[in-house]
Symmetry: C2
Subunit: 317 residues, 2 copies
Amino acid sequence: MLPDFNRLKVFYYIFLKKSVVNAAGKLNITASAVSQTLNKLESELNVLLFTRLHKKLVPTWAGHQLFEILNPFINDLEKGIKHIRQAKQIPSGMLRIGSPIEFGKSYLPGLFSSFRKKYPEVVFDMKLGDPTEVFPLIKSGDLDFGLVDIFLTRDQVFEDFGIYSIDPLIDEEVIMACSKEYYVREINGDHSFKNLAIKEFLSYQKSSLTLMNWFKHHFKKAPVNLNRVMTVDNHQAVINGIKNQLGMGVIASHIVRKDIKQGRIIPIKTPSKDVINTISLVQLQDKEPSLTEKTFINFLTKDILSSGTLKTFINIS
Amino acid sequence: MLPDFNRLKVFYYIFLKKSVVNAAGKLNITASAVSQTLNKLESELNVLLFTRLHKKLVPTWAGHQLFEILNPFINDLEKGIKHIRQAKQIPSGMLRIGSPIEFGKSYLPGLFSSFRKKYPEVVFDMKLGDPTEVFPLIKSGDLDFGLVDIFLTRDQVFEDFGIYSIDPLIDEEVIMACSKEYYVREINGDHSFKNLAIKEFLSYQKSSLTLMNWFKHHFKKAPVNLNRVMTVDNHQAVINGIKNQLGMGVIASHIVRKDIKQGRIIPIKTPSKDVINTISLVQLQDKEPSLTEKTFINFLTKDILSSGTLKTFINIS
DNA sequence: ATCTTAGGCTAACTATTACTAATGCTACCG
DNA sequence: CGGTAGCATTAGTAATAGTTAGCCTAAGAT
């Protein structure tokens, strides 16, 4: 059905130059080869592309038609190839990144913005979600790399963990907290599993993974069912829920440091140390990262280090 | 600079199927060949097009980019090829036709219209002008064929007359004429060269070729200079000029038959017979006409024959 | 007129390379 | 835990793209 594509390329140059000899020069082959190629193409398509007028080639209608198809393609291709090639020199193209919801919403857009100031050729495609969503997408190649809350996955099983490389980026203390009023009314010093498990909870994900994990970490067991009174994919909403005595929620401590200091929010302490939630960079072990990826990851880690444990993240949140 | 085009075609199918094996099936070659082709293309472009994930190929950004360029092209190409191929079955495409101004203006549009009713795929590009303009364009291949007033070229020299095939289509009597009043006032029976050459003339072309040829035909010589009082590329305007006693003009007799009969317009007779202006079909001798051309020329001659010596042409004029 | 140049076509030979067949590797599936 | 599916690799062969040489014709040049 489709003709030999290289013959189309030759035709393109013949048409451009209206000459076999000139096309041959352009293509760095002999005129004979060009002539033969043209004949083959014509018999392949079973149509005359040029009327031969001694020393002149005049395109037929079919020739014109074919050129009209080829011309934009070859222009696009030249530009495209140049573009693709330059991506080896300077970062460009699309980065597809998986991220925890809150981190992706609050911190990354600002980072993207400053990255793009330096590398305007780069665009981003961000997938917000649980590690349970992000890991498979990395594996399937639909994400270039991911940022995941390792805390959430500590107890989850990934059979093929070996295929990933996981580098910790950020540590954040994760606490269970409620408002002062709620604490006085509902907890009042009783930090036992039995007491805590029956309270109202705020969750910022569809699943109550975060909450469950908090219990597992502190009591080595998880409650069967939690009374979730509000679910919302927004950290700030959870904090506001806490402040308004809606219930208890798991949050990063630094976000509410001021509130804790001033006694408006009370963290629930237990004998075990606070959970450390590690946001880690997850990549495919055996996939060589592109220049763009390497540059961005470098940029990301630098930014995190320089801003002293998530200053930027905190401020924006 | 540009990669091997056939490799692009292979890439296209790999991308479509996201599989070397399936692409191989589509292309009727072995998977090995496809794999090798892909590797060659990648090293040619110096870029990874797919990340290999064991049994899965996931396009990189570069792969996506390349596909975005190829996809529309291949779609267009498939449609285009189909179109070009069908032009062998039914007339389609563009016919570039040269024609005398008046004939092309008055007669051809109507003919095009009825032709297109039968063959709607055909479009026309008409070049109106002298044989001196039309012949070179046929020779250079910029016109598929031409219609020319042979009368005008009788005495003109074309060195390479042999390269054309010339078939008479229509004969028309050409006369020099003026209004009754102008005749009485200026001519009054004196049809001598000396008397006629000094009158006012109307010409419907930039050059006064037509007028000159009339003199050459009737007196075997042409006046050095003619007093052209109006030049306009419209036959009807010339006739109106004649009727309004602006001067004398050369016109086809059938157009003004009624006026002559009723004595409003007087033809200038001389001992020699009236000029016969033959409109002929001119084609390049050694150029095989396409189906579209043959069909149209057939249609044209049939129409002329059936309408009895230019009935249509006359009516419209 | 005759020669020269330019552009294109063809035929036969040569060199490249596209393709195959055979084999190996590894994740996934029952 | 074999069996299968899918891709990669290698070496050898078949196909074809390209070269060289020679011919033809129209236009310019001498």
